[in-house]
């Protein structure tokens, strides 16, 4: 399996300049990578698709969303478990290992769980009685169900840094970036927080994953793991702008969890960023209005979800069973209307409303969506705009923030 059938390959076949090349280790084997790659991009190019096993049914799993949302690309990096491969940039000599496996190499005996419980596994009723059986079961389940194993060494304490900008922009995508540059142009001190390391070098200063918005404490808290040693950063600001965008929603299909099934949106962005092309037959599955144009850009085929009986494969995607027969595929891209990524907005106390695709932040005409220790704002897809309109919306809300901030300072 290793190194076989890559999912991606570089569009440009000319050899890379030496300073752009580096090597990482996956399961002790060297893999070629390009500077600015994410770990996931390097692995997909090397044909490594499955990197862990699932908690309950012990099924092989790999990356899906490719943008730090789903949590199944977790791997062990340099002795630390549960690092997201899709948002972590490669570094020379980085040691990447799969996790949640019982044996290294060869078939995993726990994979049997999937067959033994071919119908449901309802943990409320499974092996609850007699007591002794329950105790044994609890022990086994506990051992299997953890995520990864303990780090090689205890984590060094993180540094803490406090920041007091005028505005915190959460999200450095289309709308967040547009808003941040408009705010900076108006002379405001802006912290634009983006969790993807590979977006470094744009208007965004560092990779900062906002993990909590605490209105009671008036605090936005983010982890910065990009440099030497972890830094926990806290922000207090007069304005918090939510620009967290939107994300793919899982399409219900048989075997939609197979490694090699990827979110169409994440895949398109990854290809645009790295300049890779798909290296295997790929099918985009989704409503025709979304799937067809996407398939055309990717050089793939499109299918509607109701044409698909099942995605087939052992440890990764091998074929698709359709109503008119079977077709080979090495990669499946699932496309569905994107849903606003509104968790942090809700933590901050903003209201959300079902808009047919997901839960969008409710805001006023200027973009305000709450008050408290700060004025809360939202722009772009998290507030329900389309991806095309996101940047314009970011600028518009930024202009409203500038006006509000000036009033606030004059008063």
């Amino acid at each position: 399996m290793f190194g076989a059938d890559p999912l991606l390959r570089a569009r440009d076949t000319a050899p890379l300049a030496a300073e752009r090349r580096l090597t990482i280790l996956y399961d002790d084997r060297p893999i070629a990578a390009t500077r600015d790659d994410t770990v996931t991009a390097a692995l997909l190019r090397a044909g490594v698709v499955a990197t862990s096993r699932s908690l309950k049914y012990r099924r092989p799993r790999g990356p899906f969303c490719l943008q730090g949302d789903c949590g199944t690309c977790l791997v062990r990096i340099d002795g630390v478990p549960n690092r997201r491969a899709c948002t972590t940039a490669v570094r020379e000599g980085m040691r990447v290992e799969p996790q949640n496996r019982v044996l290294s190499g060869g078939p995993d005996p726990t994979a049997l769980v999937d067959r033994m419980f071919a119908s449901n596994l309802d943990h409320h009723h499974f092996m609850v009685r007699p007591k002794l059986v329950n105790r044994v079961m609890q022990e086994v389940a506990r051992n299997l169900a953890g995520l990864g194993t303990l780090p090689d060494r205890p984590a060094a304490p993180a540094r803490c840094e406090e920041h007091h900008p005028d505005v915190v922009v959460i999200g450095g995508g289309r709308s967040g970036r547009a808003a941040a540059s408009r705010l900076r142009a108006a002379g405001l001190d802006v912290a634009c927080l983006e969790r993807r390391e590979h977006d470094l070098g744009t208007a965004v200063a560092h990779a900062h994953a906002v993990f909590g918005v605490y209105p009671a404490e008036g605090l936005v808290a983010a982890m910065d793991t990009a440099g030497d040693g972890d830094v926990l950063r806290t922000y207090r600001a007069a304005h918090v702008l939510l620009a967290t965008g939107a994300r793919e929603v899982m399409t219900p299909l048989r075997n939609n969890d197979l490694p090699g099934v990827l979110a169409a949106r994440g895949l398109a962005e990854l290809l645009a960023r790295t300049g890779d092309v798909l290296a295997c037959p790929t099918v985009v599955i989704g409503p025709p209005s979304l799937a067809r144009p996407l398939a055309a850009t990717l050089g793939a085929d499109a299918l509607a979800p109701d044409e698909v009986r099942a995605i087939l494969g052992g440890g990764r995607v091998e074929a698709i069973a359709t109503s008119s027969g079977k077709r080979e595929a090495g990669c499946v891209a699932l496309a569905s209307p994107a849903a606003p990524a509104s968790e942090l907005a809700r933590q901050a106390g903003a209201q959300v409303q079902w808009n047919g695709d997901g839960f969008a932040v409710v805001r006023d005409a200027d973009g305000r969506c709450g008050a408290g220790p700060w004025t809360l704002w939202a722009c772009g897809e998290v507030a329900g705009t389309t991806a095309q309109d996101a940047a314009d919306d970011g600028e518009r809300v930024a202009a409203a923030i500038v006006a509000a901030h000036r009033q606030g300072t004059i008063r």
Binding site: N82, P154, A158, F211, V213
Partner: protein, 97 residues
């Protein structure tokens, strides 16, 4: 491998398991979350919540007007206990005269 249809891949919750929960009389987002464990894995509901809502709307157990997601709590991103505790240590140091 068996052929399952997943709604939540973190906690391995399938459409069949959600239908089983519905058959037991559970209907809302919150009830299904509590019974199946959906949304409680490393993604904290980012991947599955909306997929679940789309499914429940389709099954008719909830209505689109009033539906709300389950409560969003920190951490929304992976953060180590070591990092969180360093914040507490710092606060303590500041409190001491």
């Amino acid at each position: 491998m068996t052929q399952r249809i997943f709604v939540c891949r973190c906690e391995d919750v399938t459409v069949a398991e959600i239908d089983h929960a519905i058959a037991l009389g559970l209907a809302s987002v919150e009830e299904i979350k509590r019974y199946t464990g959906l949304g409680t894995g490393p993604c904290q509901g980012k991947e599955c919540t909306v997929a679940l809502v789309r499914l429940l709307l389709d099954r008719g157990t909830i209505g689109a007007d009033a539906v709300q997601p389950f409560t969003a709590r920190p951490p929304a991103e992976p953060v180590t206990l070591a990092a969180l505790s360093s914040l507490a240590t710092k606060a303590q140091a500041q409190d001491e005269p």
